[in-house]
Each structure stands twice: as C-alpha cells, then as structure tokens.
Symmetry: D2
Subunit: 375 residues, 4 copies
C-alpha cells in the first residue's frame, strides 16, 4: 500500500500504518505523506520507506507507482477532507484500489461523482468508518439481523468529545485547525467529523437507513467557524426513531461514542471506550454481558478477534480489521479466487455518499424552520 | 399527615408513607386510601391507622379532619393524575397544606388555577419531584450555582424505562392501566409520567428554564393510547441547548434517569440508579468521583444525607428528604419561627405549572411541522 | 421496641430506629439511649419518646418496662461491644426478646454463656449482621443452595474501609475512640468490627463454615491499640478455600464489602456499595447482571424488596429487613401462629458465637508461627 | 528478530509478532517456530518469512543466523517454559540478545545460571512481564516513586481466570496441556503462569520486594497435576503487607489481573481488563479517574501511549511497549549512543530470578506447616 497524507504531526497516519501492517498481510511500500514535499520525504524516512518511494506529492506517487512492476496494490488516503476526492479520483484513474478516510468528500456532489467513478472502474473502494471494525459491533449487527431484538423501535447514538471545549484551533494545534476550517473540513464541524461516524454506526448495526433528520447545530466557542455541537432527532426507514448527537465541547469526554438499540423484545448497548463489552437486554431474562472472545458470539466477531477473552483489544485492532478485510478482497482479486467470508465487510463508497447526505441534511435542517429534512 | 390514594395495589402510596415517616417527624394519622370506600378503609387498617380515621373518601377525610383538634397538618395526594387538582383544591379550601404527586394536574388550565389558589391561600404546596431529593443532585445544583462549570452550554437528560415494552395495560396491571389512559394520565404518556421528571431535574440542577422544544413522540405498542417514547430537542433560556428523552419501551432499562451537564470549563454526570456517585469533569484535571457523604460536598448535600459514606442511600431516602424539608417548613409556621436552611428546597406549585407547560408543549410540538414550540 | 444506647452522637442508633420503623410494624416506645443518664433522656426527647419512657439507664428501662402492661416487645442493643453481653443477659432475664448489634460480645466466653441463656430462655435473639438483609445477598444464598454453582471451591470476601487511615481516635471522634479501644471493642479492631461481617457474609451465602484460618493482622497507624488491617487465608469445611480481608486503612475506600464465590460451574459476585446488582457467572453462557426486583429472582429476594426495579434500595432497607423478619417472628409468637416464610431469616446467637470464635482464631493465628488455627 | 516457538496453534507467538512489529522498528526475519521441523517451516511461511530463514530447529536458526551478515539482532523465545533456559543460553552463547517469555526458567537453579550467563555476556535480556507495559501501570509506579501515596502499607494483587475450571487439558487443547504438565510448566500451575505476573506487577509498581509468603495452593480439578488456584499472604521488605492470589478456576473470569496499593495518604487501583483507567485515591479529596493520554500523567505514561485519549489501547500495545524499549536499547548499542529515556524499562533477568524464587517459595510454603517462607 501507499499512503497519501498522514506524515509528521498527523495523528491518523500512524494509526493507518499500524493498523494496516498489524497482521503482516499489508506492507506500506510508499507514500506521499504530506502536501509539503520536504516534509513528505522526511516522514517517509521516519517510517523506513525506500528512498525512491518517498514521494513529494500524491501525483508523483501515483504516476511513478503506476510504472513499477512491484507497484503498490492500493492507496490509503488520510489527508484532510478537502483532498479526499481529488486524490481518490486520481488513484482510481491510475487503476489503484482506494482506502479512504471519512467523511468521504467535501460535499454531496463530489461524493456522487466518486460513486460513479468507482462503479465504472470496477475497483475496490474502502472507507475507514473504523468503529464498524470492533468485533462486538459486528456481533451487535449479527444479532439485529438474526432478529434477536424483533423490529427495531429506537436508536440512541451519541458521540461526545471535549477536546474543542476551548479555542484550541487558535493555539497552532494542526488537528483543531483544519477540522474547524470549512475549506478543508466541509460544511460541518462536529457533525462532519464524528456525527458521520455515529450515523454510520447506527445504520451499520441496525441495517436501517436514516430517512429524515431534525437538527440543532451550535457553535459554542466564540470565533469558531463550524458547529462544535449538534443534536438531531432521527427517523429511520421502516418507523424506528432515534436521537443522534455529536459534540466536541463536552468537557472531559474523550471519545465516548455509544450506541443503544431497542427492539420489540430486546436491546443492545455498546460503548467505544470499553469496546470489549456488549450489553444484551431482553424482555425475558437478566441482562447479559457479552464479551469479546467469550460466550455467545457469531463468526463475524470471532474472525475479527485476535486475542483470548480478557486481553483487551482496542482501537488499532478494530481499525486493522477493516484493512485486513480489504486486503483479503484485493488478494482474492489478484489470485482470481472467491474472497473469504467477511472480505466484503468494509464500509464503501455508498456509505460514504450516505455520510455526505447526512452532513448536508443536518446542516440544512439546522438552518430551517421546518421540522424534518429528508436525506 | 393524611393520605389520599395509595392504598392496596398502589406502588407509590407505600413509598410516600415510608418516606414521610422515615425521620420520625411526620406521622401518618389518617387516609382516604382508595376511591373505593371499602378498599380505602381496609388499606387504612393495613397500615394501623385509627379506625375512625380510615376514611371512605377524600371529601369525608377533609371534612372530618378539619373538625378535629388534632387534625392532620397536611394532605399527601398520591392518586392518579386526574384527581390531583380536585383533591388539592379541596384540601387547600379546608386550610390544609398539600404535598402532591407529579405531574401536578391534568392540564395547564388546572395548573394555572392551582397556582392562583395556592398563592391566595398562603398555604404550603409541595410537589414530589423526588429525584431532586438526592444529596448529589443537590450537590450538582450547588456546583452549577457556584459557577464551577462556567456558563452552561449543553444538557443531556434521559429517562429510559422498559416496563411498557409490551401491552402490559391489557393484562390487568393497575399501574400500566391508568398511566396509558388519557382520561386519568393526561395528554402525554411517557412524557407526562417521566419526561416531566427529566425536565424538572434539568431545570433544578442548571437553574435554567426550558424555553422551547422540538419533540417527536411515538406510540410503539399497538393499541396504546398515549406516547410510550419521546425524543426532544431542547433550548434553554440563555442559550444552552440540549436533548431530553423519555421512554417506556427501552427494553430492560429500569429507571435509568441520567443527567449530563456541560459548561465552558466543567461538566457533571449523575445517574439515578447509582445515585451516590457524581462524576465531576473539568478542562483542567482528571475526572473526579464525588460520593455521598464523602469529600468536597456542600451543606445542601450534607443535610440531606443520613449515613456515612459507602452505606448506600436510595430512592426512599431521597423521597424522604422532600418530606422532611416540607415538615420543617410546616413546623416553622406552626411555631412561628424562621424555617431552617433547606426547608424551602421542595419543588412547588410553579414547578408543577412548568411541568404541565412542558407536557403541553411537547405534545403540540410533536403534532406540528414547525421546528420549535415555545413553552 | 426499646433501645439501649444509640443516642446523640452515635451513628448506629438512628440506623436501628429508622430501620425498625420503616415498615410501620415496629414502634420505638422507650429507650435508655446513653450510658449518661442526662444524655439518655435528652436523646429520647429528640426522638419524641414519651417522657416517662426516656430512661436514664438500661437497668431502669428493663425494670420499669417489665412492670408495664404495654411493655416493649423487645430490646435493641446498640451500645459499644463491651456492654452487649450484660445488657442482653439482663433483658433476657426479664423476659424480653433481644436484637443485638455485632460483634455479639466481648469474647468467646461471654458468647457461650449467652448461647446458653438464650436457649434456656426460649426467647428470640437477633444479631444485626445487616448485610445479610440485602435482597441480592439472599438471592446469592438461594442460588448456592439450589446448586446452581455446583460444589463451592473458592470464596473471596473483602471489606476495605479507609476512615481510620489516620489517627482519627485522637481527634475526639467517638466512633473511632471506642472502636480502637480493646476494653470496649474487644480483642480485634478491623477484624472485630468488619472482619466479622465479612466472615458472616461468606458463611451466610455459601452455607459453609470456616474451619481454620491463617491470619496476618497489622496495626499500621502508630499508637493504635488494635489491628487496623488484616489478611486471612481461610479453609472451609468441605474443602473450599478462600481469602478474607478487612481493613480500615485502605485510603478512600468507603464501605467496600464485596463477596465473590466460585463453584464448579458457576460464580457469584456482589458488592455492598452497589447492592442492587448481582453478577452471575457460568461456564456455559455470558455473564448475567441480576438486579433487585427484576428477572430471575427467588421469593427470598422478592419478599425483601420494597420498590420496583431501578429504584435503588440501600443500607437502611436491608437493615430493615432484619427487623421486619424479627418482628414477624415475635408477632407470630404473640398470636400463637406459625411465623410466615422468612421470619427465621435473621442471624442469631449461634452466628454471634461463630463471630466471636472467628475473632479469637484470627487474633491467635496472627500471633502464631503455625500456619493454621482451627476455629 | 528471530522467534523460537510460537507457530501454528500457539496463542502467544502471534502476540509477540504483532507486538514486536507494531511500531515498524522491529522486523521478524526468521524463526524456528515449532519443535516439529515441518510445522516450524510451515508456520514460517504463514508469516511470509523468507524460505531460507524458516528454520527447523532453534539450534539450526542460531547457527545459521550467526553466520549471516544481516543476522537477526535478537531472539524472542516463546516456547513452553521448560525450553526457555536452554534456548536462551544457546542464543546468548552465540552472541544474540534475548527477549524471553515468562516464567523465565523451569526452576531457580536454571534462573541463577542464566543470571550469571547474561551478566558475563554483557548482552541484553528482556522478560515479557507484559503487564508492566501498560501506560497507566507506569504511571502508577511513577506516583509511588514520587511519594504521592506516602509509605506503602498494603498491596492487594489478584489474578483470577476461569478457563481451567474444567479439565480442559484432557480435550486436546494445547495451551491447557503444557500449562498443567510439571515437566513443561515447572513446579507451579496457576502460580507459575499468572501468579508470577501478579507478583511482578506488585513489585514493579511499588518498588518493594516480596520478602516472605504464606501460601495455600490447591488443585481443584480432579486429575490435574499442578495447582489451579492459590492464595498467598505476602510481606514486603519495609513492612508493607498484602494479599496475592491467582486462580484458573474462577469461573467466567477472563484475565482479571488487578492491583490495589494503599499508602499512608493515598491509594491506586488498576485493572487489566480496563487498562486505560487508573483510580487515584487520597485522604484529602475525591477519587480521581486518571485516563490514558489525558490529564495528570508523567512522561513514562506519555511515551508509552500511541493514541489520543478515548481511543482504547490494549494488550498488544502494552506488549509492544516492551519490544519498542528493548529495540531502542539494542539500537543504541548498535549505534554506540546513549539509549533514550525508558529504553531500560524492560523487565530483565533479575526480575526473572525473583519470579522463580517466588514460585519456589509459594510451592514450599504451601507444603509447610510453618507460617512464613522467606523468598
């Protein structure tokens, strides 16, 4: 794989690198790790990339890699949002599969064009809605699909963080800077960065699509240019209702993504900060504490687990599950065989489009006097 | 005190009795414990009331008690909602102070008339929004008032229960029957029964008034006549935003009232099912676990605590705190002295009116296409 | 009931009063609430006792009460430990049933004499090992008895507190003073005060008797005259093994009594500070969270629960369960009928004797070079 | 690095591989991954090792690698215990640094010889007491060293597992087989496998040495040849006391290593299954919840953390911290420079010797009638 963005100073680049390489089936062979050519090459050296594959720009990387016999198999795009589309598009153009960070593009228009291009290309496109990679998220989805809960009635998904409770973007912190800049982040702040994760997680687990939203977005920190908090009423196709909220000003909350799903006869509760526990609720019997690598799990959870019960797996391992499945899909193509079960369990370009529509809808809804805005 | 309602088969009558008598400062001396005269008298005997003070109806009780020299000091009204107004009004008429269960009346009209009557009468009126009685709820309020959190930005208050996930009201269960009957419960189901607790708790702790709401109420159980689930976006006077939800179909959730408040530089989190813990968040230092009867508490918490740290106090003790304060206020009047600190810390008729306006607003909002409905 | 000890300044007197009266079946009618006659009478007035039943000493109380037609039904003894025996003995002498605080006496000799006297008298004797009063402790016991766990293998019971981490007894704190004074507390400090609760809880739930102990008691706070920390290896009759520890110097631990029991095919875990949760473990299925007033409970738990699920019951309610059962047993005697189920579920004089033997054994063991000391 | 053991069917081999390679500073270049040559080579191919570096035996590996210019830098030994000494000794003999799994050897004699050999060789020797790799374990140690707790009084360390509650070793499960076989596991079962981790963790965090033990080891599962449960009273040099227990029959407990340390004025609590939380207790203020990558941490924790707060790091990351420090120490040697801070923070051969003495002492103590056995 080759990486675009993610070099020195970025947080998410190292995550992608560690996650991709965790199982020994993917090797990072090249990169254009910064928009600054100098910094890009230095970052490549930090990671022991071959000198001639530390590229100064993604264009250079795509061009040169496409000429090599041992060319990279896919490009991982971990830049700020505004570059996702152009890099992805260029990579697909050159015939590379793409793994892209979320939100997928800057707006719905770009997203729709990308869907088209991916479909025409026949190439693989993965989107790192990494929270779907946790084994117990997959178990939750399996149980909903199996009908354990009956018809879903209610979904509560929340994603409070507190890191932007103050004007961190004015202190030179890079992450805060671009994430609060509409030109680089897109039309939404908290809702774009983490609200989309929440929406994706809810849809992934329940299998239900968000149909309409009623949103109240706020910018609490003075001078900030994007929302840093948003509360949304949600209606799902088929009649389920819900609440979704995302916040970057929830003081001292870290990365507290949490999902609760209730059906006619059961419920599920999962919290990202303690990801190895899934609470299973029922109208019939005491609450169960289902644990990673322990009793009562389906094969989706099993094949996304690396350690025995009680050996905590975390964020990186979940992230790695997306990469591993993506690599299996590519490998199957290369070898012309059927991909193994689960190789298709990677969020893709349609999830990305849904995410962009979600952002567009909540922003529009927040400015509207009408109650419901359709996605 | 004399009790109206709450006899055999009721849950809340015994709660009021135990709570009122916990500290030995209130004695239950008479009752009209059921609308059925026979049942009323039998219930009185269950509780060892004097034979001649087991009344067959509240009218009889008010009349006869008002003639006694050792008449009861106040009436506790624990009937279904539709009777609150008429009983309270009659009791006030006879010169009795009143402690009333919530929601205060059947609608806003009754509530307004009751406010008038209480104000004209000069009598004391308490409303059992009992969750305000917990020591750590009082501590949370004290910290907000003291400015520990800075300006409040966001409030998340939720009250999920699961006991009505099935059509329990069709099985003969009395609690379920009247709570799902508009004639006895009022215009809202979950929102009236527990949503009002959530709204009251948020206002009590933050000192902010809910200004407008955007509500999505649903009846999930077929045949049910009132909402059993509701999600609400909330705007507070002064600019704070929030989410409030209440549900009776959240399978296997018990009585999971929870409040999270976030300000500029701090936050608070409290959960009713583990009421002796208050999580204190800050932009400056690690999260603190403040515990009942332990470090860092103000005198409001201290005087509402009966046991040393680690000796769990629960629902009854919190309920008893309201009764004790109410009794102190009455006692001070009787003795013509200044009431002790905290004697006024009992939700009253204005809180009751706010609750009724909240119910009216969420029901109206839920039927409206407009986003915001003003309280 | 009449109370001996527990007046002004005492913590446990108010607990006994509130607990005894919670259900309206017991009335506190008289007391000798302090060893200081003046203080005794003033304390009686605090609690609204009739002037002529505020006695200056327990002897006076026993004598005068035994002459009354409406004499108290039983005496509750809540003095420091050194007075338990003489008061209990005198009360039995006069024909009163006795409810006594723990540990039962000052030493094994007194305990043995008390067993004799109780047995000869035919009177009822209850011991407030109050932690057995929690509904989920009773549920735990029921499950062990029903064989859900198979043969018990291991028991871990711990009781860490931190309130004596400093020399609190030198500051005038009454509780600390007598509890660290061998003349009033007996041969052990932490082990006597709370170690006995731990031992009793383990025996109550498992139904197994502690056969031998290997103890390491320590006094960490300089100048203190009794142990403030103790660690004990435990062997139960029948082959189960365990660990028991009690501590008063475990900084910032409140009253963290906890019990874990493991059998061949199941396990149980209960923590006093969150008493409404019982963790149920199994070799076969995910962990269950059994909750007070919810699914899967036997009738022992049910009849010791006053509120619906999610309405936390705490220390006082558990304490009250002992008093209620004791009152039922007395009432049945008075009426010459069969006591209702559960009326015998009150720790008694034999449990008290076992507690004293436990104290004697751990103190002896701690001073011995031999590994095991038999109880 | 080259690996000995850990191939197909082993759990811990993959852990070492993923952990070692996580940061991109170590590459697994060769292996003798099984004692069965065929299986060894097949396992090497699974992991994409070069064909000529998939060795059939560790002797072959050491010999051939020592002849290469690009020879491996160190050997990682992940075999069952009985082979640790001979492989480590042979590797050191050939001049390779060694990273070895724990317990270090089969008995104290081997351990002492290994200490000698390491010291004579001047080579680096690391021992994977991996739990010391967690950032908050390092933070706990830092706080004890900084005197935050005052003099340490009490340590409670427990390590309950339930996976051997039944005779799993008779079902063909490889892990269970060798761990219950004295010839391969050594003199102790649970105490050797996980009790040593507990002892090491207690010593690592407190900086205190276990001086004497009083142990009660039991084999609960019929036919098993080693202890599957053990309870130990512990005395530390300097006067601290403690309890240590390890169990493999604690039904449904996963890998519940937990440490509580109490000093004169503070305490600490850490649980492996929720490793990103450290509870900090004080006599002065409310309990704090210190979190990985958040407030109040020293640089030891900081440099052992890869992700922002709320992005759970787990077992693998902690394991990787040992490997990264070890690699830094080797790298510094190779480059003749001063190793960076923390490069020496890897358990070593003396910790290994202490572990073997601990095993020897608890086994001896368990068979003795004397109370205390000195390490």
């Amino acid at each position: 794989m080759g990486m675009v963005g993610g070099g020195r100073g970025a947080f998410i680049g190292a995550v992608h690198r560690m996650a991709a390489q965790l199982d020994g089936t993917i090797e990072l062979v090249c990169g254009a790790l910064s928009s600054d050519p100098e910094r890009a090459r230095a970052s490549g050296r930090d990671w022991f990339l071959a000198e001639d594959r530390c590229y100064g720009s993604y264009r250079e990387m795509l061009e040169r890699e496409s000429e090599r016999d041992d060319r990279m198999d896919f490009a991982a795009i971990v830049t700020p949002n505004h570059l996702h589309y152009e890099v992805a598009s260029a990579a697909l153009e050159r015939g590379f599969h793409v793994m892209c960070d979320k939100p997928m593009t800057l707006d719905v228009g770009e997203a729709e064009r990308l869907v088209d291009q991916v479909e025409r290309s026949g190439l693989l496109f993965g989107l790192t809605h990494n929270y779907t990679g946790y084994p117990l998220v997959k178990e939750a989805r399996r149980r909903v699909r199996a009908g354990d809960l009956g018809t879903i009635r209610k979904v509560v998904v929340e994603y409070p963080q507190g890191w932007l409770a103050t004007a961190l973007e004015t202190t030179g912190q890079k992450q805060a800077e671009w994430r609060t800049d509409p030109a680089r982040a897109g039309a939404a702040g908290a809702m774009g960065d983490i609200g989309t994760h929440a929406a994706n997680l809810a849809e992934y687990v329940t299998g239900l699509e968000i149909e309409s939203v009623c949103a109240d977005l706020t910018t609490f920190v003075e001078g900030r240019r994007l929302d840093d908090d948003g509360n949304v009423l949600v209606r799902f196709a088929g009649g389920a209702r819900g609440v979704l909220y995302a916040s970057q000003v929830s003081v001292d909350d870290e990365n507290a993504l949490a999902l609760r799903v209730y059906g006619e006869r059961g419920g599920l509760e999962w919290r990202q900060e303690e990801p190895n526990t899934l609470i299973v609720k029922s109208t019939e019997r005491p609450r169960q504490v289902v644990r990673t690598a322990s009793h009562g799990l389906g094969e989706e959870a099993a094949r996304n687990t690396r350690l025995p019960a009680g050996h905590p797996e975390g964020f990186l391992e979940a992230f790695a599950n997306l990469y591993r499945a993506f690599a299996q899909a590519i490998d199957a193509r290369l070898r012309g065989v059927e991909p193994p079960p689960g190789a298709d369990d990677v969020p893709g370009v349609h999830d990305g489009l849904r995410g962009m529509r979600f952002i567009e809808a909540v922003v529009k809804s927040s400015q509207s006097d009408q109650k419901w805005t359709i996605l």
